[in-house]
Assembly symmetry: C2
Amino acid sequence: MNAIDPDLHQVMAAIGRRARAAAATLAFAPTEAKNLALIAAADAVLAGSEAILAANAEDIAAAKERGISPAFLDRLTLTEARIAAIAAGLRDIAALPDPVGAVMASWTRPNGLEISRVRTPLGVIGVIFESRPNVTADAGALTLKSGNAVILRGGSDSARSSRAIHAGLLAGLEAAGLPADAIQLVPTTDRAAVGEMLRGLDGNIDVIVPRGGKTLVARVEEEARVPVFAHLEGICHTYVDKGAELVMAVNVVVNAKMRRPGVCGATETLLLHRDVVATHLKPIADALIARGCEIRGDDTVRRLIPEAIPATEEDWRTEYEAPILSVKVVDDVGAAIAHINRYGSHHTEAILSENEANIARFFTETDSAILILNASTQYADGGEFGFGGEIGIATGKFHARGPVGLEQLCSFKYLVRGNGQTRP
Amino acid sequence: MNAIDPDLHQVMAAIGRRARAAAATLAFAPTEAKNLALIAAADAVLAGSEAILAANAEDIAAAKERGISPAFLDRLTLTEARIAAIAAGLRDIAALPDPVGAVMASWTRPNGLEISRVRTPLGVIGVIFESRPNVTADAGALTLKSGNAVILRGGSDSARSSRAIHAGLLAGLEAAGLPADAIQLVPTTDRAAVGEMLRGLDGNIDVIVPRGGKTLVARVEEEARVPVFAHLEGICHTYVDKGAELVMAVNVVVNAKMRRPGVCGATETLLLHRDVVATHLKPIADALIARGCEIRGDDTVRRLIPEAIPATEEDWRTEYEAPILSVKVVDDVGAAIAHINRYGSHHTEAILSENEANIARFFTETDSAILILNASTQYADGGEFGFGGEIGIATGKFHARGPVGLEQLCSFKYLVRGNGQTRP
C-alpha cells in the first residue's frame, strides 16, 4: 500500500463522514422519495444530454491523444442512444420493488414472540470503476434504491463524462429532498484516492465494489481492508454429459462461448464425457470454428478436430475473454466436477444432461456461485436472473454470491413483537 | 501483529490445509452421516465422562495454582450434569433440520429458466474461545451440522478438558465415516497460534468466531484478515414509551437487567419517556433496587430516586455486565432512538409501548441487530429465536447479523434449470 498523503486523506475522510451522515437519512427514506429521485435524475440526464456529450467528447479527445485501444474507446464513448439507455436504466430501477423493509422470514415462538427478519440497507458502498461512464448512473441508482449511500470513484479517462452524469443524479436527489451526499463522486483523479477508499475511510465505507479489469479487481482484493463484492475471473465451464441432446449441445455451447466472448459468464472450457466424443465433438467444434472460434484441445480432441491446437496446463486456468475455447475429454461427471473445482474460478458452470443423478451430483458437488442445467453460461447476469440490474457478480461466499442486485446490497435486522414476555 | 514463528506457522498451515480438504468432503456429506456423528459423539462424551472430569480436575488444579476468579472457575468447571448437558446439546443439534441444500427461494423467468437459491456450507470456520470447555462441543456440533470444517483454538486454562471432549467428537466422526479433520483442535497453547488463525492460514479459514471476553474479541476484530462474526459489546437499551403498561414495564425491565446481568442481551440503559416518569420510574426503580440493582440516573431520575447515584457521560457507553443500570429521561421516541444509535453497540434494544406509530418508528430507525417490542432484551439468543443453538451473536451487517446459528454458518448458490435456452 502506498504512503498516505495527508491532504488527500483529509479530503477523502470528509467524503466518508458525509456519506455516513447521508446513509443514516437514506436508510429510512420513503420508497416514493427514492423513486422520485431516480425518475427526476432520468429526466435531468436526458435534459442534460448535450452537456454530457460535450464532456464525453473532451474525455475522448484527451484519451485519443494518449493513445487508446478501440475496445477502450468503445467503453468510453457515449451517444444519444447510450444516454437514453442510461435514463431508461434509472427508470427501470425506480420501478423495482423497494428491498428495504421487506420481510425475509417470519415465525412465532411457542412463548408467543413473533419474530421477523426484515431487510435494511448496508450503509455506505464504495464503487471503484474504470472507463465506463454509465457505471456512475447504474451504481448510483442501485445503491440509492437499496437505501445505501455511495462513494463513486471513476477512472480519470472518463472523469468529465462521469461528472456530467453525476450532475443529473444530484438534480434527482435535490428534486426528491434527499441528501446530495447520498451519491458522491470523488472529485480528484489522484490514484491514491483509491488506496484511501480501500482502507475504508475510517470505517465509513462498509463494502467496496470494483468494476473493471483484472488488474483493478486484483488490487482491490489484495489491498481492501473492508469487504469486497467482486469476481477476479470468470473461468466458466460447460460440461456435455453422456446422453446430452446433440442439437441442444451445439446451440448452447456456441452461445455460451460466442454470444459475447468477452463477458465474465462466457464459457472458457468445454468438458465432454468420453462417450459423446464420437457423436458430439465434431458438430460442436465445426459450429464454433465456422463462427471464428479457436479450439485448443487435449490429445483425443486433436485426433478428431484437425484445426485444434494443443491445450497446455495453462489453458485450463485461462480466462481468454476472446473467441478461444479449451476442450477436454473426461471420464464422467465426477471428473468434470473435479476439473471445475480445481481449475475454475467459482463463477458459473453448465451441465448439458438428461440424467437426473448426474445433474444432482453436478449441482451438489460443484463449488461455484451459479450452476446451470441445459442452458448457456451467459445467463450469469443479474438482469437475466430477474434482479432488475446488478452492480457486479461476486464469487466469494460471504453475504453476496452470484449477481449482486438490490437485495444483495442489503443487510437485515430482527423485529420481535411480544406482549410482556420475560425470559425464564 | 506479532512476528511469525516458522515452526508454528508450518504446524498451523498444515491444520488449515487439512481443514480445507475435510470441508470439501463435508460440504456434501449426507444428513444421516452428520446426525450419526453427532449422536455417536454424544454417546462417546457420556461414556468418557470419567476421563473428561479427570482432565477437568487437572485444569482446575492448575488454574487454582495460578489464582483465578470465582466466575472464571465456574466457567471452567465441568460436572456430571454439565457433561450430560453437553451430550444433550449434541443430540439437539442432530435433531435440527439440515440447512445444507435447503431452498431459500425459487422462481421462474419468462424464458422458462427455473432459478433456485440453495444453502451451501461456508467452508472452514475458525473458533477462538477462552475458558469454557463446552464450546468445544457446541461449536464442533454446529459447524459439523452446517457442513463446515472447524478449527478450534481453546484457552490454555481449559486445554485438557477441551481435548477430552474433542476425543468424543472424533469418536463420533469416526463412527459416521466422516473425516477426523472436520473438527480439529489446535494442539498447541502457544498464543501465537491465534495470530496465525487471524491471518487466515493461507486462505484456509473463511470466517473467525471469537467466543470470550472483550479483550479477545477486540484483538480478533483488530487483527483478523478474514471476516469475523462477533459482537464486541452488548450495550442494550430498554425504552419505556408514553402509555406503556405499568406492570409489564416493571416485569420486563427487571427481567431485562436482572435475570442474568452478565449476558450480552442484558439491558444496560433504561430510557424513560418524560410523560411516564411520574408514574413508572419509582415502581421500576424500587423493584430493581429490591433485587440489588444499583441505579445511575440523570438529574430527573435522582430527584425521584434518592438511592440513584449520578450518571456520567461514560455511563451511557458502558456495558456493566453487573447489576447496575443507567437511567435517562428522554422527550420522545425520536430522542430514545438518537440516544441508542449514538451510545449503543447495535446489539439488542426493546421498546415498551402501545403506540403503533412509535413502535414502527423505533423498529425502522433504530440501527441494531435485534429490536424487541414489549419483551425482555434477554431474549437475544439463538435458542430463544428457535435456531436450536448459536455460535455467537453478530453486530456487523455482513452476512450474519444477530444470533449466528446453522443458517448463518451457510452461504448459498444458484441452481438454474433450462431446456436448451440460449441468451439472445
